[in-house]
Every structure is written in C-alpha cells, then in structure tokens.
Amino acid sequence: MSRTEVRICGLGGQGVVLAGQILGRAAVYMGKNAVQTQSYGAEARGSAAKSEVIISSDRILFPKIRSCDLMVAMSQSALDVYVHDVKEEGQLFVDSDLVTKLPPSMEVHKVAATRISRCELGSATFANVVMLGAFTRITRLVSSDAMEKAISESVAAKTKTVNHKAFQLGFVLRESH
C-alpha cells in the first residue's frame, strides 16, 4: 500500500471530522503515516462538511485528496459535490436512507447508519461510528482493534461505551444482511 485517500463527507453536525480523526489515528496505531484535514462551513450545523484522511507507508507530503480511493457520504448533497474525483475502481459508502441517488457505475456499499444509530442507540449522533464499523469490516484498511483503540482515544469519556457499541453494530452489519 503506497497511498490511500479517504474522504468522509456529509453535513456539519454528522461527525464527519471526528470520523476522519478516528480513522487517521487508527492508521497510526498500525504503524502507518496518516494526515487528516477538514473543511466545514461557518454554521454550527447543516453546512457542507468533509474530512480527508490520507494513509501511506511513505511520508505524506501534500495533505489533500486529488484522487479519492474510498468515499463515505452521509448526505446526498455531499455525494453530489464530491463524487467527481472518486477513482473508477474506488468504493463508495453511503447512508442508505439519506443518499438515494447513486452514481451508476461504482461499487457502492449501503449502510443504514443513521437509522441503526437512532433505533439501537436512541440517537442519530452515533451514525458516524456505525458507518466506521461497516467501513472497517469491508475495506480492511485498518484493523478493528486499532479502530476500537482510536475511538477510546478520540471520543468524550462518557460516550466511550456507546461509541464502541455503535462501532460493533456497524462492524457486524454485513454478516447479518
């Protein structure tokens, strides 16, 4: 693996920046180099937000994405804006209730992250981590152990338990479907 470019995008408030932070930290735990950058609007919630993570065994010079290998879209508007630079052989992960218009010729993994978070955990807040669970299982980009450790290091102490539960809900999802 020389360089993998991952974009996690959605709306402000969906936790896409935190999700990128967790992924980057997990990659570092696996002995890789990682750089995470972010872009969000001036509003607290609802504006376009993205988090970009570059993972590489080499030193990472330019910190932004030019050609995206893996993209997670948590909203339709984010998908529409950012899908253009996803590689043809790239993979797409979408929140299946919030992103319905999909590009025709791309490998798409549909994950009902927001619904699962709301139904199983009582709040949509953990949709980002549910998504990371599914993402980890399918891509095998980082190990689940590294992700669990990164979650512990990245979220507020009082939400650790529920975030680990969210991760597991996403991680086992493909098996049960």
Partner: protein, 381 residues
C-alpha cells in the same frame, strides 16, 4: 497530567501541538477570545494550563486579550494569545505597544480567508504583510511560519525563545490547514529542548537602553518599573518632544532585530546548487511544493526550493542563492502576491519570478498546478 507532554509519537491536531509547545516553552498565561480557526488553542490551554500552575482567561475581546498578555509578561510570566485575521487586526495597536515597551510575548495568528470576516472557516495566507507592517510607526517584526504539526510544536518553542532573547513580541503565523491538520508528531525529551528565560537587571542597570537588548525586570521584585508606550529614555521616563531620545530608542528597537536577522533566518532548502526551476513558499502551500519538486525531477526538470520558516526578517540570503541558480523562481501563495513582490525585490532581475495565487474556499494550490506552471515557464526560456 505531567508538566510537559511525555516524549513519544502522537497523532495530534496542529493547534493542540502549538498549545503543548507553549506549555513546554514555559508559557503559563494565555488570554484570548474565541475565533475560528484558532479556538482549539484556547480550548486546550483552558484544560492544560491549570495543571501546570498557569492561567487561561477568556477576555472580552482581542484588544483586551493582548493587553493582558503584555501585563502578564511584565509580571514575569511567559504569555501568549492566539487569534485569526479579524482579531489580529484588533491587536495591532497593542503589538506596537509590546514592541515599544520591549515586552516578550507570543502572538499566534491562524490565517483564514480575509479581509474582514471573509470566509471564517477557510484557510488563507493573506496576513503576511499585516504581520510585518500591521502596527503604526517604525517597526521590525519576527514572524515564524510552520508547515506541519511537528513545526507547530517546535516553532512555538522557538517563538518563545526569540521573544525572550530579543525582548520583543514574536508572531507565529499559522493557517487553517496547518492548524486543523492532524498528523504524527514526535515530542522530544524535555532536557533535549533549549528553553530561554529572561535575565533580570542588576540594581541600577537601565532596562530600556544601555545595550541592544536590555535586561527586563518584573513588577513586584523591587524594581522601579515604569512602562510606557510613549517615547522614553533608558530608565523608562517619558520624552515626548526630544528628537534624539526618540531616534535612539526606535533605531535601537528596529536595530536589535536587523542586527540579528542573519542568525534568525531559518529556511528549509532543497537542491539550491543545480536547479533550473526554484520555488519559494511558506506554510501550508509548501506541502504542494514538496511533491511538485519530486514530480518535476522524475520528468527531468531540475527543481529546488526555499521554504521560509522565518518569514520576517525576510530570508534574503536564501532567496538570492536560489535566484543565482534557477532561471525561473515560482512563488505560490494563498493571497494576491504578498511575498511575490518581496521576492522580486530581492531577486532583482537575476531570474524570472512567476506568481501563483489562489484565494477563497480554503483549497490548497495543488502539486499538479505547480508542475504545469513550471513546465510552461521553462518552455518559454
């Protein structure tokens, strides 16, 4: 929590690394007012400083923030504030006061797209000239420019050291990308890091003259501390009409930085000896230059760069050295030609200087754009 971050490798945000660098440098007072993209510095220090016996205070605005930082420094405490463009504008008057009163302190400006409120969450590099000339009157500034999370830590320590060494405010000029970026950082053992502290004067020794950088007393230690932004003599007494007192004071204040400019110039350089195309960049933009130079070399175009870690005093020596070799000097920056004109002045016709300017939306100039510009420029030779 330990006094200084334990040695080791961390995956950390730039602003947090800056805050930890400040703690390692001995900063024990921070005053600020929240502003994107600098707020994480205050947030982190609000948690961190009380653990090391320090104080973080949120003031009513940026004017009061820097004023209290200056006061804390005179009370003998290493002090810092952090802001972004709009707050940096409000601080300009007090920056002049800190310079005139020779008050060591660190002022962080995390640049975003201005002028005015501009694009609050998007990065930019448009405060380069403000950092040099923002306050009124004759003035010399020291401005450092990090381009990685590691340098957010390292250059913050250097900023505190320079502030103490020269008894002057030092500006750490970051940008949204470098401040919000998370990447690996290696924290060295505390005894591997040089930390400068101020020397108090001997009894009767003047502390506003007598030598290029006079010793500095603290209030409450028995010294007769008189501090004024008005023109003052060697012992701090006001002289608001005498031309010789003013000339001596301000010439010394500017001179102490000009004299040391050579030793302060700090640049990262690559392939200065044999390059055809040279880049001059700073901050987040330089991350694109690294990759562009590699790509150009692979394509048989010899490329090199000077990356300004100290922007002011302007590292003329390195720029001149690059221009002696390179036929084309490319200056990418996220503003409309602020460093370009400075480069042109120093290059003085020795090479063709080509600007690459991109503003708005916080998007970085890409390595591809730089390669394209380099190829076009060399084709025309």
């Amino acid at each position: 929590m330990s006094k200084v971050l334990s040695p080791g490798t961390y995956f950390m945000q730039g602003n947090k690394a800056l805050a930890e660098g400040a703690v390692a440098a001995g900063c024990r007072f921070f005053a600020g007012y929240p502003i994107t993209p600098a707020s994480e510095i205050a947030e982190h220090l609000a948690v961190r400083l009380p653990h090391v016996g320090g104080i973080m205070i949120q003031m009513e605005d940026e004017i009061a923030s820097l004023a209290s930082v200056i006061g804390a420094s005179w009370a003998g405490t290493k002090s810092m504030t952090a802001t972004s463009g709009p707050g940096f504008s409000l601080m300009q008057e007090s920056i002049g006061y800190a310079f005139m009163t020779e008050t060591p302190c660190v002022i962080v400006d995390v640049q975003r797209a201005g002028p005015s409120t501009g694009q609050a969450t998007k990065g930019g590099q448009g405060d380069v000239m403000q950092a040099r000339w923002g306050t009124h009157g004759d003035y010399a500034s020291i401005v450092l420019s990090p381009n990685s999370v590691q340098e957010m830590y390292d250059l913050t320590i250097r900023a505190f050291n320079l502030a103490e060494e020269f008894r002057t405010p030092v500006i750490l000029l970051s940008d949204e990308v470098t401040s919000h970026m998370r990447e690996q950082i290696t924290v060295p053992p505390a005894d591997h890091v040089e930390i400068r502290t101020r020397t108090p004067p001997r009894v009767g020794e003047p502390y506003f003259g007598g030598t290029l950088v006079p010793p500095m007393p603290s209030v409450g230690e028995g010294f007769d501390v008189v501090v004024t932004g008005s023109t003052h003599n060697e012992v701090g007494l006001r002289f608001t009409a005498d031309p010789t007192v003013h000339s001596a004071l301000v010439t010394r204040l500017v001179g102490k930085i000009e004299v040391a400019a050579q030793s302060m110039m700090d640049c990262e350089t690559f392939n200065l000896d044999g390059c055809d195309v040279g880049f001059i960049s700073f901050g987040c933009t330089s991350r694109a230059v690294y990759e562009a130079v590699e790509t150009l070399e692979e394509q048989g175009i010899s490329a090199g760069f000077v990356r300004l870690r100290t922007i002011w005093p302007f590292p003329e020596k390195y720029v001149r050295e690059l221009a002696e070799q390179a036929r084309v000097v490319i200056v990418p920056e996220m503003n409309l030609k602020q460093i370009y004109y400075e480069v042109q002045r120093v290059v003085d016709g020795a090479a063709r200087v080509v600007p690459v300017n991109q503003i708005g939306g916080g998007e970085l100039v890409t390595p591809e754009t730089l390669c394209h510009v380099a190829k076009e420029a060399t084709d025309k030779l």
